[in-house]
Symmetry: C2
Subunit: 417 residues, 2 copies
């Protein structure tokens, strides 16, 4: 019997999440899957009956190549957390009713630690009712904060973007012969993996950022200002990378020291912004030099035009490994990346119990941050550098990168009619 499979995408966008989708699709097709469905807007959309037939949407080899280069989630995503089983039995029943209706035997979910919670809960519920469906997670997050896996697909491309932009920003900052401080705000609520990648900019043709501040280390504002002042005694143009999630010692976010509007995402996480602005204003007031605040904002998660080929390839492989695992009977697992060696860089996929991953966060080890908490160590750089290697050149049409557009999804979801 040809088994039907379904795949969904969940959580924040990355430049690599669609490569994992391609990995699932291609591998399922090659391994003789029956129907290959995609959930539209993840489990939330699926609950409302939104899904599509991926074979209708990914038809040619060009479609596959375009999809690998398309940022954000092709199928649409959600930030929906399943209730505990006892509190939302009818939701689980509805999901399994829909899965059974489509005769699904393998369920794939591409996402981060919040999304792995979905895999965990569905696996556990499925076990409790004796469902034959296998549930396998595929890691995805620019934040690189998943446990067990060496790193996560999406991180390498974001790190490559950050390193490249820092080089350009640092050079831009050198243009005038005057004192200036540029503060670059990078994503990372609790983990400094992305912000640390700013250090990649330090190479033969670039001095790199002067300091890097990550959420792992409490942030002392007065000390920070003194340090900037100190650096500026030797160097006019100072460039500093800060995580959006840095906090002062009493636990408050730096970005909350100002009185701007508060926004929350649908997981209830507060959206952090304004850290760079706050710090650059403080520097201006206290040191009097020209300052600039740059927020990478969503650009760092959607910059497919400068994606890492290593990252895209691994994202694709992770999707394929998930299909292989499910077809061989695994369930309740997430595909992990296991680094075998650094020089040459070798990495393979394996499986881990999703219960060890869901809802947990991996931070940057203290020993990969220098003693003062102002920069990463060479170990951090050896870890990240292989992940940004090589390019997946965009397919340019009429001067712009071309993407694969999801016609059906747009009809279903984006246009309200």
């Amino acid at each position: 019997m040809r088994e039907n499979v379904i795949v969904g995408q969940s959580g924040g966008p990355t430049a690599a999440i669609n490569a994992s989708l391609v990995g699932v699709f291609k591998t399922a097709r090659e391994r003789g899957a029956g129907q290959i469905y995609g959930m539209v807007h993840g489990i939330q959309g699926f609950l409302e009956g939104h899904y599509l037939d991926l074979r209708e949407h990914i038809q040619t080899d060009l479609d596959i190549e375009l999809l690998k280069r398309t940022p954000s989630a092709y199928l649409g995503s959600c930030r929906y957390k399943l209730p505990e089983r006892q509190e939302g039995k009818e939701i689980y029943e509805e999901i399994f009713r829909r899965l059974d209706q489509l005769e699904i035997r393998a369920f794939f979910y591409i996402g981060g630690n919040d999304s792995m919670d979905t895999i965990q809960k569905l696996t556990d519920y499925g076990d409790s009712i004796g469902s034959p469906i296998r549930f396998v997670g595929i890691p995805k997050t620019i934040d690189n904060d998943l446990m067990v896996t060496d790193h996560t697909p999406g991180y390498g491309s974001a790190a490559k973007y950050i390193g490249s932009m820092l080089k350009e920003i640092i050079r831009d900052g050198l243009v005038y012969d005057l004192k200036s401080v540029t503060i670059v705000e990078i994503m990372g609520r609790n983990a400094g993996w992305l912000t640390g990648a700013a250090a990649l900019a330090a190479c033969e043709d670039c001095e790199g950022p002067d300091m890097i501040f990550m959420p792992e280390i409490p942030f002392d504002i007065q000390q920070f200002i003194s340090r900037v002042d100190e650096v500026q005694k030797h160097k006019k143009s100072v460039v500093i990378a800060v995580s959006e999630g840095i906090r002062v010692p009493d636990g408050r976010y730096v970005c909350d020291l100002t009185d701007h509007l508060e926004f929350k995402d649908d997981f209830g996480h507060k959206i952090l912004y304004g850290t760079a602005r706050y710090l650059s204003d403080r520097i201006y007031r206290e040191l009097g030099c020209k300052t600039r605040a740059i927020e990478f904002n969503t650009l760092q998660r959607c910059a497919a035009h400068i994606a890492s080929r290593v990252d895209i390839t691994e994202a694709f492989q992770a999707g394929g490994a998930a299909v292989k695992a499910a077809f061989e009977g695994d369930t309740g697992k997430m595909v992990i990346l296991r680094r075998i060696s650094n020089e040459p860089y070798q990495c393979t996929t394996a499986l881990a119990d999703v219960h060890a991953i869901a809802n947990a966060e991996k931070k940057v080890p203290r020993e990969w941050i220098n003693k003062e908490g102002t920069f990463v160590t060479p170990e951090f750089l050896s870890y990240v550098r292989p992940l940004i290697q090589a390019e997946l050149t965009p397919i340019m049409v009429d001067g712009l990168p071309r993407h694969l557009y999801c016609e059906g999804r747009s009809k279903l979801s984006n246009r309200i009619s």
Copy 2:
């Protein structure tokens, strides 16, 4: 006799300004120039005696290829305006003394309308003292606001960046199935050339931004909010491009409606920022939907990694044309780009009197903006599309774009010792 030449870079950085420097250098060398000097930090640095010998810095063909791909100003730039002759005679005397000391016969200055003021004043002063030195300007500005020339080197690459990022941001905005408004702030104090380029994102695989607001049209905030509300009746994810320089009907900048700190650049122009933030906060308060403010900030002027090959090629040609002009006796001129045809795109260089260009600004013609002032017309797109064509693929080393580092400049200027 072999003639010595000197070249300087002035005003804000672009991705193409170094291609013009290469054009000057290579053409001067090929035409048998004697010494080829570079002013460090423009006329301001030169006044203090900072210059370098370009032959020592640009030695190989690889150096030339790297320099074409290096953003910001290789020689360093300044925002220095020469005083009127009667008010600063000693400054002119000092400049000409230094030029004579180096036996300069041709002086090239790459910059925007403020920088062309320098060419104009030096030409006029040189005439008045019977100096044999020829002064020729080379256009450069991402703002595309110079008179007489069809467009300016630097604009095409910035427009390509803006179109590409808008595509990625629009796709990112579609990821969740919820109402959201993203406001993207783009440079442009008085002219909407850059912001209008956001419309490039509208193509087969992307709907493009929903609205575009440029400084040429007074901005009515209540009407804007009603329009967003209207668009959102048919479409959940709304993306809007705004110029940093839009003003409400009484002439105040939108970004001044908030109470943030004010900064000025060295030409005395106020630095504009916070327009997107202000508008997204207003939308959130009045319409209650999720909003996001994205400022491209310096990224739009330094993103050499996605430069337009047409732009870089023209910047190079403009540098070469300036040398040819000066060597043939022209002075007081700026090289202009003259478009011969659009399909196929053909463009050549010519010369124009710098007096017609200095200190003037070219705005987007009213008929290239739609009646409502909310988008550009197809004529605008036909104008800009040829300028973003083709890529100058970055030279990647260890996963990041490689640039040419100006060793001597760093020693002279950046490190304070």
